[in-house]
Subunit: 377 residues, 2 copies
């Protein structure tokens, strides 16, 4: 199996189950990618990630470019060797972070100038530059540089942005043409919250020879119904034989919603960030481990879960660790939340093969009913 | 083997190798006890502690009394069940923390009043109370309440303090007489920095039926030579057939020094606290992982070490994690520093059996030569 090969093994409605091959092995889809911003999924070791069954993780180009630097990572053998993670890695293009984290950015058709959120130093990203960085990082899947517009962006601004994103996608492909290496390159469809611009962007991007296609620019503050409308409109515009990646999304319900529309890959900081805030996903819904009610609770965090945290510790102990600000709390909570997400993906794959995905979809919607009103992303 | 039984299997000069039996199994001595202040050795899981070969850990009565509370811990099955650590645990009496951490303490012959460092609430420790707390915690080895005087204390103050500590030791034994349960009770010899008062305290404390004897009140700011003088004076005053525990000490050199004087057990926050500050112990001496020189260093932290950190990651990656303030840094550094300490104890036991301890003693003194001038405790 050569890198980039994607086999759909089962379908159930729009939902698909499949396998994507990369230079560091196979990913089963639907897949959730834990976020390892700075070459580390916060608080976890590669051993922990293996134990919970992670098959691919995400690294952030913006952060790794600033620290420790892509040239240093290349010199040290690439991101896999550097972080001792020998399974697939996807790197984003850094575009999203430039627009959300850095101060004083200046956008031109050539690229984007920004200041580091670490030390204020000035930097310059172009499509060619972010390809160079990602080649140095040695990720299995690279993403094109794009502009992610805000929910507030109007039609005219968004139309111009779609043109820019298409132009940059072409420049990325020129800098890293198909078959120039074993790293895969995915295109990104933008278009904000305008159906016609999503159609335009999808037409332009899917005309290009990418190994996979992402839907970007969602979960940026819009109501959930709007996100679902745009998703339902956009996914059918993507080629069926390539993996489809919904970027930066989302809650467990968002994931099953996405899968029901035919999405194959997801990433999100929610499970890891929430873990560090004490918000934990369980088969009974979301709980906050800080709450007084867990003070003497001897039961497992989630009796339905088989992760190290749930096999080993009581809610009372987890509450104590969190309350006492013990470092172990962050790791145990993160192990559990990611195990919840990865188990959900495994269940989705099984359900798709069995033709019962609709039932799993309803179950997850039921578990988190109400919780969706207070979405934390 | 019943709890409290202590067998010396080998001697080499004053150094002893032995086995102490507790309700949760055997401890090989000389032993180092990682400090798990709040029912957690900071950043490590019980699995991590097993992996590095920890045989006993320490819990702090003062902290556990304040949070989560000894009655809650008892209700949840004791400290072992609560924290999922099924090997031996020693708890201190809380005395040292009352004197070092809490504000506005008030000492009387009856006990000590103090304010919580967490919320300022007022509390009262007596010898009977700290026995009750430790019985609730269910530790394998309990310590008597004592007064730990400062390096500045004069002879008269220290003499009165020795009387108080002896009186409290008797009251602890009355509250928990020998054979009243499977928890062991150790006495503590104080006497500050006056040889005659150390002799007086040792005479009074060793006349009582404790399962082991600790030397307290050292490593509180005195020069290293003074500590060694007091240690050399005090250890021979302790009965040879009982375990000897040097409390709150120390550096790797302090440990081999202590062993050479016949000490069997140690605890100290140095390896764990230093790990979190990036200061790491290696077979080549101490290094600070933050340093620029490690930026592109692909070698293992300590090629002579077999811990997960050294087997898996480069110095460059460890430096990156520390510099980027990644949570994983604290765990990987802690695993290594404790592995260093526990390996040193294992090597000491082997050397004592082989009659080569003096050579190990010189080796460790050589490795950390100079470093001792900047002791961090």
């Amino acid at each position: 199996m050569h890198p980039g090969q994607f086999q759909i093994t089962h379908t159930d409605g729009q939902a698909r189950r499949g396998e994507l091959f990369t230079a560091h092995g196979r990913i089963q889809t639907p897949a959730f990618m834990p976020v390892g911003t700075q070459a580390s999924v916060k608080s976890l070791s590669p051993q922990d990630l293996n134990d919970i069954g992670a098959e691919i993780i995400l690294g952030n180009t913006y952060h790794l470019y600033l620290r420790p630097g892509h040239e240093l990572v290349a010199r040290l053998g690439g991101l896999h060797t550097f972080s001792s993670w020998d399974r697939p890695i996807l790197t984003d293009s850094g575009g999203y972070q430039v627009f959300s984290l850095s101060a004083l950015r200046k956008l031109t058709s050539e690229g984007v100038e920004f200041r580091s959120h670490i030390d204020g130093s000035k930097h310059w990203f172009t499509p060619e530059k972010v390809m160079d960085i990602q080649v140095n990082l040695g990720s299995d899947i690279m993403m094109v540089l794009d502009e992610c517009v805000s929910y507030a962006a109007d039609w005219t601004y968004t139309r111009d942005s779609v043109s820019l994103t298409t132009d940059w996608a072409r420049r990325c492909l020129k800098a890293y043409p198909p078959d120039s290496g074993s790293q895969l390159l995915f295109g990104i469809v933008q278009g904000g919250f305008f159906s016609d611009l999503r159609t335009l962007s999808a037409e332009e991007i899917t005309a290009l020879p990418f190994s996979g296609f992402a839907v970007g620019g969602l979960s940026v503050g819009e109501p959930k119904e709007v996100m679902l409308d745009i998703l339902a409109h956009t996914v059918p515009l993507l080629p069926g034989h390539r993996p489809r990646y919904l970027m930066g999304v989302g809650t467990p319900v968002d994931l099953v919603d996405g899968i029901s529309h035919g999405v194959d890959m997801f990433d999100c900081v929610l499970p890891t960030r929430n873990a560090r805030n004490g918000t934990l996903y369980t088969s009974q819904g979301k709980i906050n481990i800080k709450r007084q009610e867990f003070k003497a609770d001897e039961s497992a965090l989630d009796p339905a879960c088989e992760c190290y945290t749930c096999r080993t510790f009581s809610r009372a102990y987890l509450r104590h660790l969190y309350t006492a600000r013990e470092l172990l709390a962050y790791r145990l909570n993160t192990i559990h939340n990611l195990a919840y997400y990865l188990t959900l993906m495994r269940r989705a794959r099984t359900a798709i093969a069995a033709g019962t995905f609709a039932s799993l979809h309803r179950e997850i919607q039921g578990v988190f009913k109400g919780a969706e009103k207070m979405r934390e992303d």
